[in-house]
Symmetry: C2
Amino acid sequence: MINPQILLSVDELPKEWYNIQADFPKPLPPPEDPDKKRMEFLGQTMIGKCLEQEVSKEKFIKMPEGVVELYLQAGRPRPLMRALKLEEYLRLPSTIRLYYKREDLSPTGSHKVNTALPQAYFAKEEGLKGLTTETGAGQWGSALSYATRLLDLDLVVFWVGNIYDSKPGRLDYMKNQEAIIHRSPSSITEFGRKIQKEFKKTYGKNKKHPGSLGIAISEGLEYASKNEGVKYSLGSVLNHVLMHQTIIGLETIEQFKKIDEEPNVIIGCLGGGSNFGGISLPFAGQVLRGERDWDDIEFIPAQSKAAPNLGGEYRYDYGDVAEQTPMLKMYTLGHKVDMPPILADGLRYHGAAPKISHLIHEKMINIKPRWYETDEKSIMEAAKIFLQTEGWLIAPESSYAVRAMIDRSLEAKRKGEELVMVANISGHGFLDDPFWSAATHISVAKYI
Amino acid sequence: MINPQILLSVDELPKEWYNIQADFPKPLPPPEDPDKKRMEFLGQTMIGKCLEQEVSKEKFIKMPEGVVELYLQAGRPRPLMRALKLEEYLRLPSTIRLYYKREDLSPTGSHKVNTALPQAYFAKEEGLKGLTTETGAGQWGSALSYATRLLDLDLVVFWVGNIYDSKPGRLDYMKNQEAIIHRSPSSITEFGRKIQKEFKKTYGKNKKHPGSLGIAISEGLEYASKNEGVKYSLGSVLNHVLMHQTIIGLETIEQFKKIDEEPNVIIGCLGGGSNFGGISLPFAGQVLRGERDWDDIEFIPAQSKAAPNLGGEYRYDYGDVAEQTPMLKMYTLGHKVDMPPILADGLRYHGAAPKISHLIHEKMINIKPRWYETDEKSIMEAAKIFLQTEGWLIAPESSYAVRAMIDRSLEAKRKGEELVMVANISGHGFLDDPFWSAATHISVAKYI
């Protein structure tokens, strides 16, 4: 009997996050703050425990028992699956084997829950009244609305305007979790009002500002600074966020051990870097510690040409448009860059997480980004191939990872390489109808 | 550490379906066919293996290895969860314990995949070109579109008109699986054209006929009878369908054994009966075989007052409006009854599965149906309570089961009963925005 599932028992759930900072031969460049006000501001607006984890050099950080219990309730550990039907469809030889990790089984439909739960837990421990945040694709806002409701905290979300307009299902989700959602730019922050005013001057009163992740972050930070007992929670980019996400890769390593297999290609989509970091950092740690050879593992971040931040400059840049965050050293397109709209909104961010940028810049791992066209036709095709073979309706963002896995496996087939590949399926697509509706018009290639 | 998950390993997946007909002390009344044409018609339009299973008296029917593999790919076995947070919210004493079975983890979002996969498998084995079916809520159409695509079969779906109009996400899902979908009543069957013509005479040209499950079934049967190599597949009511669904209850029994616990209350929503049958029949079998006492297990089918078929007459009735099916002995409201629209469309059917009707009529099990108001306010409240405590966004239909579990557990608390209860979560609600959108206006009670 053929069994595609590789499962961990509840006892095998990792109980510590992996902090790659402990294994960096050269330390991560610290944040910079030209006029010293921003670090202080951040100290006031961020969850204390998260700030502490942000700079920790401890290699393994123990999860509080309460967080482990929340992970179990959310259905962790998650399956690793062998993509047998996809391999068959692509006519791959048995020397090329494909696997995928199922973060789409998350209660809110994405990996974001992995950091939302500990952040909400730490906020509750700190005695906060509530949290505020920004969201782009809506996955992060959904995840935090889930986590804050479970921990009985208030939540205010600033949601990038044009995406707010196109995803009523996600809006309803967050409302049903009792979150308060503002279309960003909103009228409830000074910065939002300023942006709206300028926009109306240029485009008139009837056009709605489409918003951006940078604007929404600025609004959230302002809101946190002006409301007692409310702190700001971030869903990507920062060190502690990527560390919480390492549970993905840590589980995956255990799962591969069970079948006595070692992956040579690790794939994730990359916007800010949390899902890519989640699957990759524990494997990158193996390379840093010399347990695997540098050229024995290839890392593939799958990106959109709309936001090819890994092809940008490596320099200090702000995380938001209003320049309220300190500057982080990272690959960036510039914090005021205009990015064309795509359906995989979660990939539209100007910079890549400092941890990942550092790994790349110091050539610590063998990493080969791929950039895909903004018409997303090849992405939709990959998503449909995955749907029709493996059977799962995945998120637009995750479809980039699947596209990269298909492309890389066909290259390997042509070159006669023997490869074991794993892609992280960061989320499901049940609340992403704009993407799946467009996909109905895409036809699927036959590989013979 | 508190662990709410009760899991089975892949090896523990049941490999046989349970056929309750073998344990009935008095056999199931056979179908009736006033003018003998319908049985012949059904013989021609149904999958051979399904017809064979429909009348089988074998107690356990072995699943083909290919079906077991399809179940594994679809993520079976599925978790049983202890509803710890819901218990806490309801302030239940530790003598009342709540569990739920997670059919919502299905690839298409419902338990319907459990019968779609074997039906498509048998159709492929028979050498058919394709299948046709009806769908109401859209769960069945989605499940069959998934199964037929995996097995490389064509699929034509007749979808109840007013629901077709309200669920673009499900429509896109089926299209992305390459199914051909007709809004029912359609123009491609004689019966559909006739119904439309009559409707237009009364209501004018601009109004669209809302359709009904009965009409859609009639269209599908006509289509199957007129197209070579195409047979008709049904997603509920019939004996073989409920038998395929017993995998739910069989897994659940194994899971309770693992924690040395025995449920006393078994709950499922009931439209035609496939999800209720799936969770209940294996437990009903324990009663029939004398392994459990009659009054040791209470069965609760949760229904809508829009279609309270278990409160109807027990008699022979047709399964469809056009009277193309043989007559089945069942509790029925009459096959031409008008049922008010509700958001949990999957519960709107005029009759209850013959197997379940027989169990009730012969008083073989202790069964206590519950009927809920058609405004569905109490249902949405239950759905939100479940979302905000357990964290899962469930289907409108499944929310009836949760409502019944909440109500029954609060009664038990008042009466001082000690009870272990399990509800089947038949599906997720990510593609059911009309319901979850309405739910945003419902507030949730506090239990203290």
